[in-house]
Symmetry: D2
Subunit: 271 residues, 4 copies
């Protein structure tokens, strides 16, 4: 599908790891819709090299390494992106998250609090850093659009999602808070997409992910939204069709968020 | 703006009264995006005749009168629309609302309860009727999209909005409830757009509307969303870019819904 | 448990049918906490006679029949209650609901719209009627408390709950709307309690209730709240410990409302 | 007011600084309702000495210094409290918060990210630490109750509240997440109270606090809830009347949270 929805727009995509990533699919869709791109990820992720395939598929988009918890890296990223584009940025996708406590197998009731800070920094404060750096450099074009990916665990407890739930709640709050200020200053809008559980490399790290993704599938009238679906939805939020939507957390989940129970789940419960 | 986003899609638009109406603007945008349309309104509204201008501007779209609280009228409407299109409906805009108690100047604490039933019927149950008729006739195409317009008074009290607040809360619940069933059955999605206060003929009927619209403007980081903005947003929700969004109430309000106060309002309070 | 929390307070309890009813338990608790009571129900429900046992257990509380959709009946009720108490009312419990479409076995996608009006009238507009009658008669004491019982289907779809979901959404909106006006006028507060599914005569009418109540039990960290628990919670909301809580929908459900999934449900899904 | 609501219960109160503090008032109310107390605050706050007055007024409650971001301090606190009480803890009040960026006059769009970590640690992660320490020591009695104080800026932007908004969003998420686990394990419930802006020493640190508190007053049908009101509400949540309420964010604000606008504000806007 392509309708030139992003013709002439310039964007930065954070977090494309491999072709399972939502960020990867989003970059492809944005390019197909006429956008020019800069791709970025942590230096360590870049070393795996797959992103170069994506760059090639996106009109030889520059790949610029940046540590999202390092403001200087982010400043250099925006500078190089603006130099490449010859102007300001129209859209940003923030698809970044990592939980050290989950990696280390720590239960939510037994967290390492230093790890927790690291998790919050990478997964949530990174959005504040990106916005603050862009704001201070006046790097976003008027009516620009910033989207961050989140998950409904920010609202309701999914025990295996562990400390990432708190990180996502923080991320969503930051998107509202910064959305206010960037909206007032320059009409830049900031929203989060609360996506169905998705079988990405990141998602798969969550314990019990399979049982969980199948529960979500059964609890969603339209089924789970895929990474491809999410990419299309991102395009709509970067486009000019949604210019007055800001500071929102938008559920993109086939109806999961407002479904209390389905017939299918009730039947399973009766087994 | 046009990107052929709705190329090949067929839709029914309820509630275009005059060129101030959100429904009117939405019909124009949908047509510009490649959709074919059927227009409908209450017989009494059609008699004013303005809608014929809209029909002409939309490729001579048929205008079919229907009373939204009459299931037979709705059945005839869908039959004629399908006959005209030669197939099922892809999208529906429900932009219908009327408060008899407001018209009669009744305060919320002194409602006429017969009027209240009428208000609920026209403004909220009408959505159930439209969906039920379409469902029973299998009139919607798979992945079809139904959008109804609502207002944030469904969540928070705006005293002058009076009984319409309750009607909108009911409307939003119906969109969730029917969204579940239509999603399960045929992947049809149903959402509401919670729009900024808009200077339409309907909006203007609300007492103290001017003070109120200016408060909303001052409380929205991006300012109030206009009827034109809303039309564009409707297009995105009718398009294939948003197929996994259902059962949601989507705020389209320049950030009003998640702004607690703005600097501008604080300054006004200090006067 | 009794701490004289409601000493000197006078209340009206709607909807005590038999000793399974939440209203019945609430009346008992309020009496145990020192309150004086008037009991009311529909004339047809009174004819079953059980309520006289409750009246006897509550210090020979008067039982006054009233049809909640008849404003004259409600006026007479408040007049007689005030005459009995020798003064205004401190608290009201609204525990009223009935769905004709459920009784008749109509699916949500095949409702009889006349029945739907009846359902909304009895289950939701009745709260507006009660408040409006009390307001017009100035029947509530300053800082009085009105509580209505609701269910989380107002926020999320539970398919078997059918049209009652919409009725509850309307009820909650009315409690906010009237809560605003009664708060401004006389510091009267109005809240809803969103209670766990409860095995009452009313609850049992819902199809698939057993599978459903067991799903809720498994999805609630503390288990389902019982009718007795709810009665205690009502007492706290009628007491002076909660005077600044108004216009809220308060979940009383062992944590169900903010639990996305539990380990127990995941395990059941894997079977 | 006293009804012996907390007779026999033992609690720890964090954060009583002086007689303006909500924690101070809550300690007084809990004591009046029959509870035994341990008081705690940061060592630096204790040095100011006022808390000894409170201790004296609460039956010579022990005062134990603890840094809320130091797990060892918290462990020692719980050990000493249990030794003093001769058994487990029934309730905890968490009234702790501090923003370094606000103190240093940093705007939200120009935060120092090291300060931000400190703010989050003291104001939000401290709740996780308290819960985790108690959980690991099995220090809470079955059906115990933990309450943390928060503010509606977690949901909607109040620009001067700055980074504390994000801290409160994180705090609320932690209360849900831990509420799940502690509920499943030991029926311990965890809730947050979202309180009106209150003229405490902490509150007064927020820029533009006066204009802001008067806006809130005008926007609340019952007016702002005072620190005394909040103390009473805490008592209800520590009592056995609210045992099935958990994982909730409870607005205690005179109706502010569900009021979109008031007549009084509209009139002010027209000046």
């Amino acid at each position: 599908m392509s309708n030139n929805l992003l013709k002439g727009k310039k964007g930065i995509v954070f977090g494309a790891l491999n072709d399972q990533s939502i960020a990867w699919k989003t970059a492809e869709c944005c390019y197909a819709e006429g956008a020019q791109l800069v791709l970025t990820n942590a230096p360590i992720a870049l070393r795996m090299g797959e992103i170069n395939k994506l760059a090639a598929a996106c009109g030889n988009a520059p790949v610029i390494g940046a540590d999202v918890v390092n403001n200087d890296d982010l400043k250099a990223l925006f500078e190089q992106a603006m130099a490449h584009f010859g102007g300001p940025i129209d859209f940003v996708l923030h698809s970044v998250g990592m939980s050290l406590n989950i990696r280390k197998g720590k239960h939510y009731t037994d967290l390492n609090h230093d790890f927790q800070h690291k998790t919050l920094d990478i997964s949530a404060l990174s959005l504040h850093r990106v916005c603050q750096v862009a704001y201070s450099m006046d790097a976003m074009a008027e009516w620009g659009s910033i989207v961050a990916l989140t998950y409904i665990a920010a609202q309701r407890v999914f025990p295996d999602y562990n400390e990432m739930a708190d990180a996502k709640a923080l991320l969503e709050s930051i998107s509202r808070s910064f959305g206010y200020h960037y909206g007032v200053k320059k009409k830049v809008r900031i929203n989060t997409i609360s996506q169905s559980p998705t079988r990405t490399t990141a998602g798969s790290g969550v314990k019990g992910f399979d049982g969980f993704i199948s529960f979500a599938e059964k609890m969603s009238p339209l089924g789970n939204a895929s990474a491809d679906d999410c990419a299309q939805y991102c395009v709509s939020l970067f486009s000019d069709y949604t210019r007055m939507v800001t500071m929102q957390n938008l559920f993109h989940d086939g109806g999961f968020s407002f479904t209390g129970v389905t017939q299918e789940v009730i039947e399973q419960m009766e087994k």
